[in-house]
Symmetry: C2
Subunit: 411 residues, 2 copies
């Protein structure tokens, strides 16, 4: 317990919070999600550039891990598991294709390039993710969240998150050195799925009466802290059950989603998230080796993974062949990998399954898919809206109305 380490921690946190906020705001002004700015802030503060932030420092590492737990708890709080059933077939088809195709293509590309099986599996897994945060945020900014396409993307992203979390714990086990066997994979899958099922079932029985009780303690902040403690507890239980901590955090959020106390828990969690979540993304950025990005091999691999990642998700958009919807819009909206892709990559790096080179290539892929989507979606929606304005179809109802409505809102 060095007495000098608190000033040092304060210096690091001041630099981190300011850089994350400034670059996050700049990113937003450029039409990008703020997570892009936070990643860039990490690259600047990390060992490749300024050397202020060491993501392997135990305190920073633990704060970053609390950050990703708080983030997944927030995502869970926003996830209505019952509405998944209603969004139905289309979302499921998009999600499944959007997981299977990028995983298969990514695995093949990595194997062809001579990487190990474990590395190829982790890289493939990182390609399966869809960032529900970035997709939902961008569609909402463009006024597209209420369209049929927006609803399908939202549903598919939620299912993708759940599938992704299951894949994450399977892959964690594999990357952690557990031998790859059908039995082992099945067991890990069953533990992960079983944990979610048991947590959700027990949770929806026990948790609502408990939180009704907590609500009667009128002292301010009690509900928020009870929610956070519940998220930490399920994260711990998930980890003890051989699954990933963030599965527990997500399940805790999803259980609390349907309680009447949700909105107040959400307000308090969001305040904590404003502090903790950027630490995760900046620390992730700080793990990027700029030197590896100067490596043509890394850039080539990153571009190959990027191409595969874009192709796989766009293909997924064409999954619901029986529907008359803007399938390209769905596919493009599924492209950003965001935080979940980074979680895979980070996990692979920490467990040693990925080399720094492959980690950097995956980060490049995540950065590129996250960067390209918002401007691409904005362009697609704007040109459609322009077309419908020209054809004087604005106000004709349905999707076109929603689109031109969105465009009017922007004027």
């Amino acid at each position: 317990m060095d007495h000098q380490d608190v000033p040092h921690l304060l210096a690091v946190l001041v630099a981190l919070l300011i850089a994350a906020k400034v670059l996050g705001v700049i990113a937003q002004r450029l039409g990008q999600p703020s997570v892009v700015g936070e990643l860039v802030a990490g690259i600047l503060l990390g060992k490749s550039a300024l050397g202020i932030l060491d993501p392997t420092d135990p305190v920073i590492h633990d704060l970053a891990q609390l950050g990703v737990i708080v983030l997944l708890f927030e995502i869970g709080l926003q996830t209505n598991l019952r509405s998944l059933a209603k969004v139905g077939k289309a979302a499921t088809v998009v999600a499944v294709i959007g997981v299977a195709v990028p995983f298969a293509l990514g695995y093949v590309v990595c194997t062809v390039l001579g990487l190990s099986t474990v590395a190829a599996v982790v890289a493939g897994a990182a390609l399966t993710a869809t960032s529900i945060g970035i997709s939902a945020r961008t569609l909402s900014d463009l006024g597209q969240l209420a369209t049929p396409e927006g609803q399908i993307v939202l549903g598919a992203a939620v299912i993708d998150d759940v599938i992704g979390l299951v894949i994450l714990s399977v892959v964690s086990a594999l990357a952690g050195g557990v031998a790859i066997s059908v039995g082992g994979v099945t067991l890990t899958t069953m533990i992960a799925v079983g944990f979610i099922v048991v947590a959700l079932m027990l949770g929806s029985l026990v948790v609502p009466p408990f939180f009704r009780l907590v609500e009667r303690i009128e002292e301010s902040g009690t509900l928020g802290i009870a929610g956070l403690a519940f998220a930490f507890l399920l994260s711990l239980l998930a980890s003890l059950a051989g699954s990933a901590t963030i599965i527990g955090a997500f399940a805790a959020g999803a259980i609390l989603h349907s309680t009447p106390q949700r909105s107040r828990i959400e307000v308090s969690t969001t305040s904590l998230g404003h502090f903790f979540v950027p630490i995760f993304f900046v620390a992730a950025g700080a793990s990027v080796e700029l030197r590896s990005l100067g490596d043509l091999h890394v850039v080539g691999l990153g571009l190959a993974l990027f191409a595969v990642g874009v192709l796989g998700k766009v293909a997924a958009g064409y999954g619901p062949v029986w529907l008359r919807v803007r399938k390209l819009l769905i596919g493009v909206a599924m492209i950003p990998r965001g935080e979940v892709g980074l979680i895979f990559a980070q996990m692979g790096l920490v467990t040693g399954a990925l080399t720094t080179q492959l980690f950097s290539a995956l980060t490049l892929m995540v950065l590129a898919t996250t960067l390209i989507t918002p401007p691409l979606l904005a362009y697609m929606v704007r040109s459609e809206s322009h077309m419908s304005d020209t054809l004087e179809m604005a106000g004709a109802g349905g999707i076109d109305d929603l689109v031109s409505g969105a465009s009017r809102k922007r004027d």
Copy 2:
């Protein structure tokens, strides 16, 4: 960076948050401030009892330090430095006597008992504190905050906080091994006072336009994070200037107090505080050696310090001799040492100026002064109110009206 440490940290945090909240609520139900429950939670989780919480663990230590910084930032945000001038002479007299008498008596008692000069100074300093949080909270619960006595206590507690913070940095320097000399003490005092003066002057020029700019970034959470980063920055600068981090945090809060953005910064800081602040108090409780409390010497020393601490603050209440106010009420309201007393004790323990025995005796004193005040104040106000009811003076205006008003509210 052991991958296993995140589940362990989660387990510790779950135990800490639940124990702090449960015992805090029990304390409140028993008419005590929740900080008492948090201290008891720490004693239960610490090495003396369950052994779950190790306050010297680097991550817990740093989270606790962030907790006390967030707390002092909150206290600063609530402190209107301009109104100090208005509360005026009475509050200053109460504050100065309330610092001088307990310090002198505590120093004498410790020296007589054969303790070293540095230890006697730290113990004396710990006796000077008044917990603005506990005093203000208790008076407000009893409906006494708007009375003349309440205003004097509030003003004196604020001045006490500022004096206490200056004493803290002087004593930190001494405890840190800087030789005791009039020149050295003067220099440290001047650095501490100078830091506050420069920070407040520069701060009130530069900060309001800066936060007006920050406010124009409409993204939610920006003001809160900017406030927190400012608090961390001033904490760091205070530390670099040879003062204590919490002086910087307090100054940051006081500077932001008069900005129009204060209330929104306060909301966000309070949410963070609900998580971070209990970590400080529980970790402080976990540093208590129950074994030392079984030591008659420690209990005797603790009782002696407790007697001195009560006497000194009650004497301070009689300071404004020229006013017709309830002087005993003022004195009793100044008794609780709360967080500031613990900060001194913790600092003394960390720097090695205090033995575990003296630390435990000081903690006993802090616990006792903090525990005794709320029930004592409640008893005094109730019996006065009963008296005025008997004399049918309720509604006659002035102080008595306020008192019986408070009693009606409680019925």
